[in-house]
């Protein structure tokens, strides 16, 4: 691991340079969509014509289920909110939840994975079994249980958003744990760790200095894919009524839940726009993650076709399909 890190070796920039043709197209599309998400989230108050919980304008209340018009470009919801404003403000909630969920789960997962993989012993065994159990469980149900615990099923103001983020964190921690642990187990037997130990470096320093840097190489892939899963989980929670109250923040899943009845009576604008926002967000993040994943796997990288290169893939991540670390997580 050289210390001369130029901008060219930064995670995404490096892959962008490495990619060609179709894969570059996918990566660029993903980056553009993700960039739009971030921009919209930052500029939401400027872009949105009304507040996300605003019910009345200068001419009185907006009225419920109004079809798209000049006043309300995308119509109003059954609760009488402006659809466009809620869709735009929804990016803020989405981004906030993604960032909090991923930061929390990386911190927890990496720490646990490092300690578990490096120290081994009974702690390692217990953590592996627990992580496997949690990992195998339907993530949405896990998030529901976590949401009940954190907010008691009630959504307060910021608490609701934070609760959703933490609920999603619970789902992700095992993934980071597994990958980092597997890498740590592999790395701790390498010569440079051995030599550091011989020199008398403390365990903590070896873990943070030598192992951590090498064990976290594959994390950017998981982060992008988890970001998209976080959005889907958040929307799922909201759809089941465990999301955030409409007055606290704009959340697409909640809006979709309220639009089920609208759909039956042919009111399309309350469901299509928040849904499309979810699809575009997840699409952008998945395209980025997918491209990074393909570029990291020589079998899938479309480039000069090396005929018989054995696949030294460290991690293969499939959105929604789980991920397999290079070493089997269950065998110490």
């Amino acid at each position: 691991m050289s210390r001369r890190r130029t901008w060219r070796s930064l995670p995404v920039v490096h892959q962008l340079r490495q990619s060609v043709g179709l894969q570059r197209g996918m990566l660029v599309t993903g980056l553009v969509l993700t960039g739009l998400l971030v921009l919209t989230a930052l500029l939401a108050p400027l872009l949105a014509p009304y507040g996300f919980s605003q019910l009345r304008g200068p001419d009185g209340t907006f009225g419920a289920q109004q079809a798209p018009s000049a006043d309300h470009l995308l119509g109003t919801t059954v609760g009488g909110y402006d659809v466009l404003s809620r869709v735009l403000y929804g990016t803020r909630t989405a981004l906030f939840v993604i960032v909090v969920a991923i930061v929390l789960s990386i911190v927890a997962g990496v720490l646990l994975g490092l300690v578990s993989g490096y120290l081994g012993g009974w702690l390692d065994r217990v953590l592996v079994v627990v992580a496997d159990a949690v990992y195998a469980f339907p993530s949405l149900l896990l998030a529901i249980v976590a949401a009940i615990v954190i907010s008691g099923g009630q959504s307060s103001l910021v608490g609701g958003v934070l609760a959703a983020a933490v609920s999603i964190t619970v789902v992700f921690v095992p993934q980071y744990f597994r990958v980092v642990r597997a890498e740590t187990v592999r790395i701790k037997n390498e010569a440079f760790v051995e030599s550091a130990r011989v020199v008398g470096t403390s365990t903590w320093r070896i873990m943070t200095r030598h192992v951590l840097r090498n064990a976290t190489r594959s994390l950017p892939l998981i982060v992008t894919l988890n970001a998209s899963e976080a959005i889907l989980t958040l929307a799922g929670l909201g759809f089941l009524g465990f999301g955030i109250q409409p007055t606290a923040a704009a959340e697409w899943g909640y809006d979709l839940n309220r639009s089920i009845a609208d759909v039956t009576s042919g009111i399309w604008w309350t469901s299509i726009f928040p849904g499309a926002a979810i699809v575009l967000t997840v699409l952008g993040l998945t395209l980025v993650g997918e491209s990074l994943n393909d570029l990291a796997d020589p079998r899938l990288r479309s480039r000069r076709r090396a005929a018989d290169a054995p696949p030294p893939a460290d991690v293969a991540v499939t959105p929604g399909g789980g991920l397999a670390a290079g070493t089997d997580g269950s065998t110490p």
């Binding site: 195998a136 469980f137 339907p138 993530s139 949405l140 615990v149 759909v263 395209l287 899938l300 479309s302």
Partner: protein
């Protein structure tokens, strides 16, 4: 993925006896370890869920707090035994689980097992349909994508796969509903069958709860058609969610097998490319599918909860949504615990099948 070439044939008759015994032992002990692993998995999940749910307080206060006077509330709590030490409650709960007692719901006072029996069949039916949709869509398209790698159809199919994943199942459901039920009027909006059909189905003496089987057993062709028409949209919504995963998996594996030595050898003997795909490469590329079907069970169950809520498909997921709304956490806990058992059992079955098909699995 070169199983086909190295696939060790069953030990020949003249193989040394010791070698054969070891081989059988490998599979046997592998299965035993896998079977035993179910116990800690279920135990951990059930324990975690129990203690997590209790950190918010007792379920009765959660469900009825504020609606009952304090003394009545305390009475109900004492009656249900929620005033005892947490550990006693936990052991009581575990004991109940071992006897197959998942608790009694608070909102409608039904044993959770009763809820499971009543609504489990509906969820099973939906899951099977959607899995069929996923495989029928995912496998052929994945093969096409691998065959035409890096050309336009491949790009389009991969985009389709990502799109399938990126669309939340309930949004897909709402869109399908909007187009095919509301605008075109081709298919019913929600539910499993019409009220008239339901009467007919429950009247039959063999009542499985799986409507297709029940409908077929009535011998009424019209009813079978109706049941199927109701099932189309939910199955599509849930099936497309996983179809994308299968498509990508088949594509990746096919690319791997198409580049492997034995396929290369067949290609150099002049075997046509289409025949390579159909006869040589597809089998080893499909083995991982079996494992992934098992991994998808978690995703499909999550999806089923959302699909059922979207389409008012009265299964476990729909019921779970209802109990969540009613803040009936005993029922939620019971359903979640049961789903934990189902997931663990499915994973075990998948492990067994994978070990039987691919001998390398049991030695890794």
């Amino acid at each position: 993925m070169t199983t086909a070439t190295q696939d060790p044939a069953p030990p020949a008759e003249d193989a040394p006896a010791g070698r054969r015994r070891r081989r059988g032992g490998g599979l046997g002990s592998y299965l035993l370890v896998r079977a035993l692993l179910i116990i800690p998995t279920v135990f951990i999940l059930v324990t975690t869920v129990f203690f997590l749910m209790r950190t918010t307080g007792d379920p009765i206060t959660a469900a009825l707090g504020g609606r009952l006077p304090a003394d009545q509330l305390a009475e109900r709590i004492r009656e249900a035994g929620y005033d005892r030490p947490l550990l006693v409650q936990y052991l009581d709960y575990l004991g109940g689980l071992l006897r197959g007692d998942f608790g009694t719901t608070l909102s409608d006072r039904r044993p959770v097992t009763d809820v499971l029996v009543t609504y489990g069949a509906a969820t099973l039916e939906l899951t099977v349909y959607s899995m069929a949709v996923a495989l029928l869509v995912g496998i052929p398209l994945g093969m096409v994508a691998a065959r035409l790698r890096d050309r336009f159809p491949d790009a389009a199919l991969r985009f389709f796969a990502i799109f399938c994943y990126a669309t939340p199942v309930f949004f897909a459901g709402l869109l399908l509903k909007l187009v095919f039920s509301v605008w075109l009027g081709w298919l019913p909006v929600a539910g499993r069958v019409s009220t008239r059909g339901e009467l007919q189905l429950t009247r039959g003496d063999t009542h499985t709860g799986i409507y297709l089987i029940d409908a077929i057993s009535t011998g009424d062709g019209e009813l079978v058609g109706e049941v199927l028409r109701y099932a189309v949209l939910p199955s599509l919504a849930l099936g497309l969610l996983t179809a994308g995963v299968f498509l990508r998996l088949v594509r990746t594996n096919m690319i791997g097998t198409l580049g492997s030595g034995y396929v290369e050898a067949a290609r150099s003997r002049g075997v046509a490319e289409s025949r390579l795909v159909r006869k040589h490469a597809y089998r080893p590329a499909l083995v991982p599918i079996i494992t992934v079907i098992g991994l998808q069970i978690a995703l499909v169950l999550s999806g089923a909860v959302l699909t059922e809520t979207t389409f008012e498909w009265r299964g476990l997921g729909f019921q779970l949504g209802q109990y969540l709304q009613a803040r009936d956490f005993v029922a939620v806990q019971g359903i979640v615990a049961l789903l934990a058992v189902i997931v663990a059992l499915t994973n075990f079955v998948v492990d067994v099948v994978a070990a039987l098909i691919d001998p390398r699995v049991r030695y890794s």
